[in-house]
């Protein structure tokens, strides 16, 4: 569904992504790991359509379409979901109003009419249960006054409401205690279907104890320097990123799509 080919991007003239290649197929979970400053969040932002980085080279296709020319809202309606590392607080905008607008825009895109108020509330109830979200959160303004954990759970709740085909979770585990981490991971696992895919971006291996990836990629200095199966995450946890940095020269060409 997603194919990234030789993607290069810079911010204010400084090259952040230096040629990313990645292919994600339906049903797969990919983990992208890497030290701080390696370009993980920039990659997530580019995929979601945040325009602070300039793409200088390469292509990204999504179901064969050029993703980079699509507006952020169009990407969302076509099934891409970004779970924010730092979800934004929007005082005065209720969760109900926000999600009703979003869900109905998605429905309109599919040629469906808006949901009735009762159907919408029923949907919210079901999804809240699915991802174990405190029902009071849904009565408040978007993320306003939420704790770090509540904000992350709220991202998963939104993901459940919008049922994306490709979810990109940017450091969703950062700042979570173990209980919140489990809730977030359970949510992701329950939303998994044979025809959707997830990219989990994380700094630590911890989340991958609960969300089992099919592939693990290590991003370092704007490039994927190593890709393998889930065992790579454990190896990273043991050896740290220093191992990748020193082994960089050898590891670039060790992986090809299809290997695991």
């Amino acid at each position: 569904m997603l194919k990234i080919t030789n993607l290069k991007a810079s911010i204010e003239g400084r090259e952040i992504l230096k040629g990313i290649n990645l292919e994600v197929k339906e049903g797969e979970i990919h983990a992208i790991m890497g030290p701080n400053g390696s370009g993980k969040s920039t990659l997530a932002a580019i995929l979601a359509g945040r325009d602070f980085a300039d793409v200088t080279e390469g292509t990204v296709t999504y179901y064969g379409r050029d993703l980079l020319t699509m507006a952020p809202e169009e990407r969302s309606r076509e099934g891409i979901f970004l779970g924010f590392q730092y979800p934004i607080e929007i005082p005065g905008v209720s969760m109900v109003n926000f999600l009703k607008t979003a869900v109905n825009e998605h429905r309109k895109h599919k040629g469906l009419g808006p949901l009735s108020a009762s159907d919408f509330l029923k949907m919210m109830r079901e999804k809240k249960e699915l991802v174990e979200i405190d029902s009071k959160l849904a009565n408040r303004s978007v993320n306003e006054g939420f704790s770090g954990g509540e904000k992350k759970k709220n991202e998963i709740f939104q993901m459940a409401m919008l049922e994306p085909r490709l979810a990109i979770l940017d450091e969703t585990d950062s700042g979570l205690d173990i209980d919140a981490l489990k809730i977030v991971a359970n949510g992701v696992n329950r939303l998994r279907k044979p025809d959707n895919a997830t990219i989990v971006i994380t700094h630590y291996q911890r989340l991958l104890d609960y969300i089992i990836p099919d592939y693990v990629h290590v991003l370092y200095d704007g490039k994927i320097v190593r890709s393998a199966g889930k065992e790579l995450a454990l190896e990273l946890e043991k050896k740290g990123y220093e191992w990748i940095k020193t082994g960089e020269e050898n590891s670039v060409q060790t992986w090809k799509p299809g290997m695991s």
Binding site: R50, A71, I90, G92, N97, F98, E105
Partner: protein
């Protein structure tokens, strides 16, 4: 339209004199008519008030309180008449249906500042509350009027208040006796309608006794496209332990200028909330004074201004802490589009002995274009030493981070803008203490932000 707002300043003495002369003549011409239709109680004040007005004339921008609002062009315009209504003048107003009208309220209509001859001049509603024409009330309740009329504006130097005292001959009177708590709000619908350009004045008096409670909604509307200028004064007395909620909703056309002067005098442990919701209007100047005169009194002064094109909205808030242990909170927010301009001047005065005062003030404005302009000015005069006081002002654009967050969920940019503006405005609306009104105000604000109010179905004026 440009002449309708703070444009070229006119300080020319000759023009000043000419303007003052004009009002002097207007006064002598209209005084006999006004006198004939008003009670002596009001008439006895007129000449003195006119004298005070003529001393300083129309406030200019040299006056600190009018620094960013130029009134002279409004007053220089030749209005066809100082309006005294006949029975035919109320026909159109009868057909008027307010956007808030299906709200469950006790309603009264004022047309060009006058009580229509077709309704009861004054009526008692269950619970013993009296609502009606101020002029009529002067005959029916002379002792109440005498005790309160003109008492809360005494310390004022603003000449427009004197002009109102000199010329106003009617308005709304509301009397809530001690201990009466009215749950259903009272609604005043202020209509301006004429096929001539008119200048009108009205005077309201609200007296809320001890332990009483009342919520009052005031809706300002224009029904014909002529050029209008309104200079209204409202005095409110709020007794011990009483609760008074005032919600003013302004929705007038771009050729209309509205000046409101509101004085709220509070006895001990009373609580007041004042909400100025300016949805539409050519030039709007709301001056609101809260006089905290009894210990333990509290007030919440709220305002929301949404403007576009060449509109100009000026909110002048003046909170006076005269005694200890009072608290006040000012929150004014606005969204300015196109070339519109707005002013916020928030004064907090704490008298020498008003210890243990809490006074807060915040003003936030979103500016949607490079041409819109906001002037925000805090004015703190604190003479006591045990005081908690904060103030803050921000002017900015819509938050791009929040825009992207909404877009990333499939919401279009235009919808996202609307949601963010609504959320910003809702912070004021959600503080309105009367539950059924909050939802109504949210709806009206949403309509305004969508640009629907200027094509309001009930309005005969097609605003451009």
């Amino acid at each position: 339209m440009d002449k309708n707002r703070g444009g070229k300043q006119c300080t020319d003495m000759e023009t000043r004199n000419e303007l003052t002369e004009k009002f002097s003549r207007l006064f002598s011409h209209t005084l006999p008519g006004i006198r004939a239709s008003s009670f002596e109680l009001f008439n006895s004040e007129r000449e003195k008030a006119m004298g005070k007005f003529l001393e300083s004339g129309i406030p200019t921008r040299k006056n600190e309180a009018y620094k960013y609002t130029n009134l002279e062009p409004l007053f220089r315009h030749d209005y066809d008449s100082f309006f005294i209504p006949g029975p035919d003048d109320f026909a159109k107003a009868e057909r008027f249906k307010c956007d808030v009208a299906d709200l469950d309220s006790h309603g009264v209509i004022l047309i060009n500042g006058f009580y229509p001859t077709i309704s009861d001049k004054i009526r008692e509603i269950p619970g013993g509350i009296w609502i009606g024409s101020l002029n009529e009330a002067a005959g029916k309740f002379p002792s109440i009027i005498e005790k309160h009329f003109g008492k809360y504006i005494k310390a004022e130097s603003d000449s427009l208040i004197y002009l109102n005292t000199a010329l106003a001959s009617d308005g709304v009177f509301i009397y809530v006796p001690d201990g009466v708590r009215l749950k259903k709000p009272v609604q005043i619908i202020n209509l301006v309608e004429s096929d001539k350009d008119i200048f009108n004045q009205h005077r309201n008096l609200i007296v809320a006794g001890e332990n009483s409670e009342i919520s009052l909604i005031v809706c300002d509307h224009t029904l014909s496209p002529n050029r209008f200028l309104t200079n209204g004064v409202t005095e409110a007395y709020v007794g011990k332990n009483a609760v008074f909620n005032l919600i003013r909703v302004q929705n007038e056309h771009n050729n209309s200028s509205k000046i409101t002067n509101t004085f709220i005098y509070q006895e001990s442990n009373s609580h007041v909330s004042s909400n100025n919701i300016t949805l539409h209007g050519g030039l709007v100047r709301n001056s609101t004074k809260h006089i905290l005169a009894g210990e333990g009194a509290g007030c919440l002064s709220l305002g929301l201004y949404l403007s576009d094109k060449f509109q100009h909205v000026d909110n002048f808030v003046n909170v006076e802490h005269q005694v200890p242990e009072c608290n006040s909170n000012q929150l004014f927010k606005g969204i300015l589009d196109d070339m519109s301009t707005a002013v916020f001047n928030g004064r907090i005065y704490v008298a020498k002995d008003a210890q243990r005062t809490s006074a807060y003030q915040r003003n936030s404005t979103i500016i949607l274009t490079p041409d819109a302009k906001m002037n925000s000015k805090p004015q703190l005069e604190i003479f006591a030493d045990d005081v908690k006081c904060t103030h803050g002002a921000t002017v900015g654009q819509l938050d791009e981070e929040a825009m992207f967050y909404l877009q990333s969920r499939g919401i279009s940019r235009s919808q996202a803008r609307l949601l963010l503006m609504f959320g910003f405005a809702h912070e004021v609306i959600r503080n309105i203490p009367v539950e059924p009104l909050r939802q109504r105000m949210d709806d009206l604000v949403m309509q305004r932000l969508r640009g629907e109010l200027s094509r309001c179905a009930s309005c005969m004026v097609k605003c451009s």
